[in-house]
Structures are given as structure tokens and as C-alpha cells.
Assembly symmetry: C2
Homo-oligomer: 112 residues x 2
Amino acid sequence: MEFGDYIRRVRQMHQQQDRGYSLRQVAGRIRVEPSYLSKVERGLAAPPSRATILRLAAVLQTDADCLLAMADRVAEDLCAAIQARPQLMAKLIRAAKDQPEATVLGWIDSAS
Amino acid sequence: MEFGDYIRRVRQMHQQQDRGYSLRQVAGRIRVEPSYLSKVERGLAAPPSRATILRLAAVLQTDADCLLAMADRVAEDLCAAIQARPQLMAKLIRAAKDQPEATVLGWIDSAS
DNA sequence: TGTCATGTGTACTACACACTACACATTTCG
DNA sequence: CGAAATGTGTAGTGTGTAGTACACATGACA
């Protein structure tokens, strides 16, 4: 799914129950120009910066990590965690990549 | 440790046994201008792009993930793995962040 | 002693990123 | 009906990224 299509859909969902979700209003709340958000929604402009995507996720009440992923980005705290122990984390992620979700969830569960 | 300091040190290690590791020679092999590599080594220029760092890691026979981390970057395949399953991977990394190395290694071990 | 290689200084550049500014044509609704 | 709000088109902008180009001084070495 394209980033623009997705955020347009989510925004319009909200808009149906709350007229505070017009393109202009949302643009105002995430502090960008309406014309820019319009282009992003239609895929005529590349997805915004990480910071802007985070504001958008908050306003649209959607998962930030997913939204970042659609924009080919990764949250800053995840990058930091990898950079703090690069070899360990690289090994972990490469191992997790080929595991079914249940297995990975098992690991996480054993942590808490 | 600074990126520049580190690669200079590693390069000079090699240089002591192999005169094929002069700044100019290494620059040639990773396909950048010597003056640029010089600036990078002394911290007068920001670390190079991901692709250039990978070539450098290969030439210096040092761990690519570590070198990338020093440059505040993350390997592309790790980003891709996160983006493929953003919520799961985000949860995993945030869980692993606070675990001792042995625990994480245990998870990895249970995978193979 | 001359030439070759080494590291460095200065100046510059092409391109992409992440937007802004503003005018315009519709649509809504009090 | 008229005013306000809506989405969009065109043009332009400042900043950062990732380097290149080339001259220069120094040192090795044959």
C-alpha cells in the first residue's frame, strides 16, 4: 500500500465522523502547507520527514512504526538501539527475519 | 569512538604490514578522492554514504555493521527487515534493548 | 638529486530533500 | 445568495548530502 493512499484513507475515515479532519485542518495540526499534504496524499510528493510522519501518526491515531515503514523509514529509537550494540542487534534482526511471528513473540514474552 | 579516528587507525594497522594501504590507495579502491578520505579520517567531513562505508569495511576487513553504527547509520537489510513487519520488529528491538547480551544470544540460538 | 608517492588545503558542485507561498476553482451551508 | 471552507496547481526556496578537482608541501628512495 502506498503511503499517500493510506493516509488519505485514514484521514477520510475520521472525516466522516468529525469535520475536524479536512485536509486543511490536518495539515494545520501537523504544521505543513495544505498543498503539500495534498500532494503527499496523492503520491505527487515523497513522504514527509520522520518528524512530520510522527505528528501525522499522532493526529490520525495510527501506528507510527507502520506509517514510518510505508515511507521506507525506521523510528529513531530503533536505529539508536541497533547502533548501541550493532553486532548483537544485527544478528538478532537477521535471525528474526526468517522466524514466524509466534516464535518472535515468544522471545519478547520471555523478556517481561 | 569517532568514525574518522577509527578508520584511520585500522588503515594504519594494515599499512604497517602492507604498503597497499596508503590513504591514496585505499581511496582509490573505495572510489573516492584522496582529499575526501583524508577529511573523513580527520573528522573534517561527515562519514560517507552507506555504500561507500560498505566498500571501506570490505577493504579494511572490518565489521560493516559496526562501521555503519559509528556513522549513525543502519544496514539496508536490517531496515528492510523492520519495514517488512514493523510492529513485530519494533516490539522485538525495544524488548531486546534492555536485555543483557546473553539473553538475546539465547533467543538467536534457539532459532537455528 | 630528481622523481615519485604521500597526505592535505581550498574551492567548488550537482542533486535530492522537505518543504513554503499563493493563486485558483469548486463545494458547502447559514 | 454570499461567505467561508475545501482541495489542488504552479513555482520557487533553503539546507544538507556526498562528494570532485586540483594545487601544494613534504618525505622516501633509487
